[in-house]
Amino acid sequence: MNSFLQLGLRYRGTAAVTSAAIIVALLAACPWLMDTYYLNLLFMIGTFVITCTGMNLLIGYCGIVSIGHAGLMATGAYVSSYLSTQAGLSFWVVALAGMLMSLVIGSLIAIPTIKAGGVYLSMITIAFGVVIHEVLIRWDAFTGGPLGISGIPKPELGGYRFDLKSMYLLVLAVSVLVLVLIRNLRRSAWGRAMIATKENEIAAASLGIRKFAVQYAGFAFSAVLAGLSGAIYAHANSFISPDTYHFQTSVQLVLIVILGGAGTVLGPVVGATILVFLPELLQMEKLRMALYGGIMFAVLFFLPKGIVGTAGQLLGRKIRGYAKTGPSPARERNSETPQLFAHASSSGAVMLELNGIHKHFGGLHALKDVSFSVATGAVHSLVGPNGAGKTTLLNVISGLYSANQGTLSLRGKSLNPRSLSDVTMLGIARTFQHSRLFKELTVLENVMVGMAGRRRVGFAHALLHTPKQRRDERVMEERAHLLLDLIGYEGDRDMPASQLPYGHQRMVEIARALATEPDLLLLDEPAAGMTAAEIGQLEQLLRKLTAYGLTIILIEHHMDFVQRISDTVTVLDFGKVIGTGKPEEMLTDPRVIQAYLGAEEVAAGA
C-alpha cells in the first residue's frame, strides 16, 4: 500500500514536470501564433510574474505586505533607462545596475523597519511608494519629470537587436527561472525558516532562527526582482513615465499575489494573467480601480487562499509545494541514534545555576529571589499551584523574558544578556504549554525547522538548489526521521501539522526542540492531554534522553509521573521557592500538600 503511494507520488512529480515543460513550450511558440496585441499582453503578464513572485515570497512566506513595490520597480526602470540613454551602456549592464539600486533602496526601507514589522512595515512601504512617485515627477534632471524618459534602446546581444518577440521570450525565460528559484527556496531551510517566523515569531526564535536575517533576505530578493522587472519593461517599451508607477500599481501587485494565492508558487502566474486580461476583455480601462476593488472583495470573501490555494485544497493535493520530503520506502528504522546529540556533557556537573532571580510585571512580582541549580543529566521538575510562576521561570531561562535581578549561568558561563535565538545556540531548547507547531509546514518540516538555526546553507545555495544544498537537505531529512523515530511518532510525516491530534503535536514539538541539538531541554507540561499509556511512552523517551546525557527541566501536574521520573523537584508558590529536594521528600512535605496537592490527591495516590 505504502509503496503504491510512493509510486503515485513519484509519478505525480514526473507528470507535473512534463506538463510544466509542455506549457512552457507552448508559451515559447506564442510569438509565431499570435498578433502583437496579445503578445504584448503576455509580455506584461511576464513582467508582473517576475515582480509578483518576489512579492509572493514577501507576502506568502514572510508575512510582510509591502504596498510600495511599484517604487522599487520604478527604481530599476529609471536607473537602467537613465544609464542606457545618457551613458549609452548596454542593457545587460544597466539592468544589473537597476537591480543593485533597487536592492540598496529596498534595504534602506527594510533594515530599520523589519523589527517593527506588521502594519508599521506596510505603512512605511506605502509612504515610500508615494514619495518615489513624487520624486519621479519633480526630479526633472534625472527622471525627465512628468514626461518621463523616452527613446530607451532595445537590448542588444552580439549585434542582434531584440524586438517584441525576443523580448517576450526573454521575459518568459526569466519568469520561469524566477519561479524555479522560488520553488527551490520554499523547499529549503530558508523557506521553512521564513514560514516558521511568519507563523510564530517566538517559537521560531526559540529554534535559533533570527527573524531579521530571514525577513531581510526575503525583502532584498523581492527588491532585486522588482528592479529587474522594471528594467526589462523599460527597455521593451522604450518609454517610461511616472504614471506607470503610481500607488495603484503597488495595490495591483498585492492584488495579483492575493488573487492567485499567497504562498503558492504558481499563484502570481494565475493572478497576473487574470488581472492583465480581464480589464482588456471587459474594455473598462476607466473603471480599472473599481474593478480591482471588486475583485479584492470577491477574493477575500470567497477565496481567502486565492485561486491556486483554494484549487489545491479542493483537488486534495498540495500545489503549494510542500517540500517533497517523502521518506524513501526502504528507509530503515534505526533503534540507535547516532550523533543526534553530539555534545552531551559529563553528568554530575552543574548544568544550570539560578541565583536570586526576580521578575516583575508592572506591580506583579512574579518571581521572588529564585535560586537553585540543575545537575547535568538530571530530570529536574518544577511543580506548584497555577500562577505560581513556573512558566515565567521557564521563560526567563529560555531568554523570552529577562530577569529584573539575579544571574543565570549555563555550564558555569553567564547567560545574560542575550537574545532568544542566542540562548538556543548555546544549547537550551524548549517546548510550549500550548503547542506552537508551524501549521503550514508538514510534520517532518517542523522538525527540520529546528535545524535551521545551526545548519542553514547560504541563501544562494538554497535558491539554486546546489549539490551542497541537496546534500544538506538529505542530512537534515534523515536526522528529522531519526528524531521522529526516537519520539515514537508513527503517523504520516508529510501531513500538515495543523491536522495532527493534540497529543501528537506535543510529541512532535519535543522532536523539533531536540533538532536544535540542546544540552538542556525545557518541557512545559508535556503530558497534559495524554492518556496513561501515552504518558508511559513519554516517560520512556525522557529516560532515553537523559541516557544520552541531556538535562531536562520539566513542568508537570501529573504527580505520579513527576514522582517516577524526577531526580529533583523544586516547588514554587507565589513566585517563591518553597523547597528543592528529592521527589519523595518534596511531595510529602505538608506545605506542598496544603498549597498544591490537596489532601484528597495524597489519599488517592497512596
Binding site: P385, G387, T531, L597
Partner: protein, 238 residues
C-alpha cells in the same frame, strides 16, 4: 436530553467517527475516554455544530440539531469549553465572566449574577485576586479556571467539556471536578472528555471508550474502573 444515533464524520479520506451511538440524560455526567486522535474532540464539535456530520442524527431536548450551526445550538443551551483556553485576552477577568451571560437564554438579574460571581470566586480565589487583570496576563492554569467559570455562569443545559483538567494543579483539578458535579446536580447534562480517566470516571455515572472513531466499549463507571482493557490503556497502574 441528548441522543446521538449512527453518527459518522469524515475529513476527506479520513473517517473520524464511525456509527457512534450515545445517550445523555439531564443531570447526568458521562465521560468520553480515548487516546489522542481517537475522535473525541470531533464528537464534541459535531454536537455543537462546528463540524457537519456525514450521517446520523443528533437530537437535543427532542429536537433534531444535526444540521444546526454552532451559534444556533449555543442559543439552545449547549456550551462547549474547548481544549486550549480560549479567553478574551485584552478583557479583564470580570469582563470575561460577564460574557458568559451573553448567550444565556432569558435574562439574569444583577443580584443573580453577583451571587454566581461570589460562588465562582469562592471556588477559585485566584480569579478573585486577579479580577481586574487582563485575561492574557493569567497563567495557563488560571486561564483554564476562567474559561470553565465562564461556561458555568451561563448555566447551560448541556455542557461539553474538552479536557478541563489540562494544565491544572491537582488541588484545582479536584475543585473543578467538584464544580462539575454541582452543576450536574442543578440539572445540567455534562459530556466530559478527559484524559485523566480515573478522575473522570469517579464523577461520571457512565463512560464511553472511543478508539479509532468507534465506540470500543461502554458501561457504568464502576464497571469500567475494573475493566482490564481500561486499566491497561487508560487508567495506568495505580
Amino acid at each position: 436530553m441528548l441522543s446521538i444515533q449512527g453518527l459518522e464524520v469524515r475529513y476527506g479520506a479520513i473517517q473520524a467517527l464511525r456509527r457512534i451511538d450515545l445517550e445523555l440524560a439531564a443531570g447526568e455526567i458521562v465521560a468520553v475516554i480515548g487516546s489522542n486522535g481517537a475522535g473525541k474532540t470531533t464528537l464534541l464539535q459535531s454536537i455543537l455544530g462546528l463540524v457537519r456530520p456525514d450521517k446520523g442524527v443528533i437530537t437535543f431536548d427532542g429536537k433534531p440539531i444535526t444540521q444546526l450551526s454552532a451559534s444556533r445550538t449555543a442559543n439552545l443551551g449547549i456550551s462547549l469549553v474547548p481544549e486550549g483556553r480560549e479567553v478574551f485576552g485584552t478583557l479583564t477577568v470580570l469582563e470575561n465572566l460577564r460574557l458568559g451571560l451573553k448567550n444565556k437564554i432569558g435574562s439574569t438579574s444583577k443580584e443573580q449574577f453577583e451571587r454566581e460571581l461570589a460562588s465562582i470566586y469562592e471556588r477559585f480565589p485566584r480569579l478573585y485576586e486577579r479580577r481586574d487583570q487582563q485575561a492574557m496576563t493569567l497563567s495557563g492554569g488560571e486561564q483554564q479556571m476562567l474559561v470553565l467559570s465562564r461556561a458555568m455562569i451561563s448555566k447551560p443545559k448541556l455542557l461539553l467539556l474538552d479536557e478541563p483538567s489540562l494544565g491544572l494543579a491537582p488541588i484545582i483539578v479536584s475543585d473543578i471536578f467538584a464544580s462539575i458535579q454541582e452543576l450536574a446536580k442543578g440539572g445540567t447534562a455534562v459530556l466530559l472528555v478527559e484524559q485523566m480517566a480515573h478522575k473522570a470516571l469517579s464523577i461520571a455515572s457512565r463512560g464511553y471508550v472511543i478508539d479509532n472513531g468507534r465506540v470500543a466499549f461502554q458501561g457504568k463507571s464502576s464497571d469500567l474502573l475494573q475493566d482490564q482493557r481500561m486499566i491497561k490503556a487508560y487508567l495506568g497502574v495505580h
